[in-house]
Amino acid sequence: MIKISGLNKTYDNGFEALKNVDLEIKEGEIFALLGPNGAGKTTLISTICGLVEPTSGTITIGGYDHKRDYRKARELIGLVPQEIMLDIFETVWSTMQYARGFFGKKDDPALYEQILKDLSLWDKKDNKIQALSGGMKRRVLIARALTNEPKVLFLDEPTAGVDVELRRGMLEVVKKLKERGTTIILTTHYIEEAEELADRVGIISEGEIKLVEEKESLMKRMGSKTLKINLAEKIDSLPSQIEREGLSLSDDRNSLEYSYKIGANSGITSLLSDLKSANISFEDLDTEQSSLEEIFVNLVNE
C-alpha cells in the first residue's frame, strides 16, 4: 500500500529527522510505529501525508508517487494529527463538510451521520469545536479524517491525553476500520495499544528505522519469560548445584526468579529436577511474559 525508499529529511536548522528510511506498509494491516519522543515518528507521517517536503527519497501510496501523482496519492489518505489543530469557531458538522470538500468530493450527510454516530459525536454535531472537551476534539480529528473514506488512515498518537473509557472506544473504531479493509498506521507511546492492535511493529529511533517485524514473532524472538518459584521455606543463598544463568534469589529470600527465552531449551525441567535433588520444596509457580515495552526499551538502549 505504501512504499518508502531512501527517505531523508533534514530541517533548515540542520536537524536530521529522518535518515534513509525504507519502509513498506501492506494493504489492510495495522502497523504500529513506536519510538521515543523526537524519534521522527511525526516527521515520517507528515512527509507521507504531504505536510513536510522530504530532502530526498521516494514515497508511493497505492502505487502513486506522492509528489508526481499527489492528487491520486492523497485521495487515499486520511490523517489524524497529534495536536488538536482545528478551526475552533466552526461547528462539528461544517468541519466534516469542509474536510470532504477539500478532497473534491460532494457533500454526503449520510456518511457524516454514520461517522459521527460511530464516534459518539452525533449529539454534538451542531456544537462549535471550542465548546467541546479535549477528548471530543480528538474524536472530531478522527471523524474529519474519515470523511474522504480513506484507504489508509494515519493516526499520530490518537489516544494521548484521552481518558481510559474514550480510549477503549477509539480502539474499537480502529478495529472496525480494519475489518472494513482500511490500512492503519499508528504511532503511539502506549505500547499496550500496539500490542493489542498491531499486526506489525516498526521501531524508530533518532530518525532511523531500527526494526520492522510481525508483532507475534517479535514478541517470541525478543520476549523472555520469568518463572517465579515461591519457596516453602526461606533459604539463605543459592545452593551451588542449582546455580545457573538467569536464576536469582529474591531479596526477601522467599522466592526464586528464573528468566528464560521462550522455546524448546527453556531449562525449566532441569531446574525443577535440580531443586528436587537439592531438597528445596516450593509452594507455587508463576510465569510472566515480558511486554513489548520492555522489548522496545531494550532495543532503543542497544
Partner: protein, 253 residues
C-alpha cells in the same frame, strides 16, 4: 483542477466573513462613512467645486478605493495566517489540493469581501450625494483588479508573517499613509510642483484616480496609466505567488 476543493476554500473563507460580520464588513463601512460625513458633508460644503464635481462627490471614489485596498489585503492576510497559526492548514495540505486552488480560494474570497464593502460604501454615500458613474465597466474593472491584486499581496504577507503584528504593518504603515497622501481627499494639482512630482511615485495615486476617472471623468493621471500600474502590480504579485508555488515557501516545511 479540484474545483470542489477550491470552492470549499472559498466558501469557508466567506463563512468566516459572515461569522465576523461586524469586524469584516460593518466596521470598515462605518469608518468610511464617518470620513464621508465629516470631510464630505460637514467640511466639504465649505470647499469649492473641483472640476465640476462637489467635494462630497470628489472623495467617494478615493474612499471606496482605500476601503478596497485595505480590506482585500487584510481579509487575505488574516485568512491564510489564521490556519497557519493554529495548524489547521494541515487540512488543506494533506488534501488533494494544489497551491493554485488554495491561493485562488483565499484570494477570491478576499476580493469578494472587499467588493462587498465597496458596494455598501457606494450605496451609503448615495444617501448624501448623487453619484452617477460615467464608465461603469471601468469602475467595476478597476475595483475588481485592485481588490484582486491587494488580496494577493495580503496572501503573500499573511504567509510570510510570523506574528499578528507583522501583517498589521502593511495596512497601517504602508497602505493607509499612501492612500491618504495619494489623493483620496485632494487633487494632486493642488500641491506645489515638487510634491506633485513626488506624489507620482505613489502607486496608489493611479488606483485612486483610475476609479475617480471611471466615476466622473476627472483625474490627475491618464486612466491608461492607472490600468498599466495595476497590471504591473498584478504581474509582480503573480510572479511572487508562482515562486511560492514552486518552492512551497512557508506552506510545507
Amino acid at each position: 483542477m479540484n474545483w470542489i476543493g477550491l470552492w470549499t476554500v472559498y466558501k469557508k473563507e466567506m463563512q468566516r466573513t459572515k461569522r465576523v460580520l461586524f469586524q469584516s464588513i460593518v466596521s470598515p463601512v462605518i469608518t468610511t462613512a464617518l470620513y464621508f460625513i465629516v470631510f464630505g458633508s460637514a467640511i466639504g460644503s465649505a470647499i469649492a467645486v473641483i472640476d465640476g464635481v462637489s467635494y462630497a462627490q470628489f472623495i467617494v471614489p478615493g474612499l471606496i478605493m482605500m476601503a478596497l485596498l485595505q480590506n482585500s489585503f487584510s481579509a487575505a492576510s488574516s485568512g491564510i495566517y489564521f490556519p497557519k497559526w493554529i495548524g489547521s492548514i494541515y487540512e488543506m495540505l494533506s488534501a488533494p489540493l494544489s497551491y493554485i486552488e488554495i491561493t485562488a480560494g483565499y484570494v477570491l474570497a478576499a476580493t469578494t469581501r472587499a467588493l462587498l464593502i465597496g458596494i455598501i460604501i457606494y450605496l451609503v454615500a448615495l444617501f448624501f450625494t448623487p453619484l452617477p458613474v460615467l464608465h461603469p465597466f471601468w469602475a467595476l474593472g478597476f475595483s475588481i483588479l485592485v481588490s484582486f491584486v491587494f488580496a494577493m499581496f495580503g496572501f503573500v504577507v499573511g504567509l510570510w508573517a510570523n506574528s499578528f503584528e507583522q501583517f498589521n504593518i502593511i495596512p497601517t504603515f504602508v497602505i493607509a499613509p499612501l492612500a491618504f497622501l495619494g489623493g483620496v481627499f485632494y487633487s494632486i494639482s493642488m500641491l506645489p510642483p515638487f510634491w506633485q512630482t513626488v506624489t507620482l511615485f505613489n502607486p496608489l495615486v493611479y488606483m485612486i484616480n483610475g476609479l475617480r476617472w471611471a466615476f466622473f471623468g476627472i483625474t490627475d493621471v491618464h486612466p491608461l496609466w492607472s490600468a498599466i500600474v495595476i497590471l504591473i502590480f498584478m504581474t509582480i504579485l503573480i510572479g511572487i505567488i508562482a515562486w511560492i508555488f514552486k518552492t512551497g515557501y512557508k506552506l510545507r516545511k
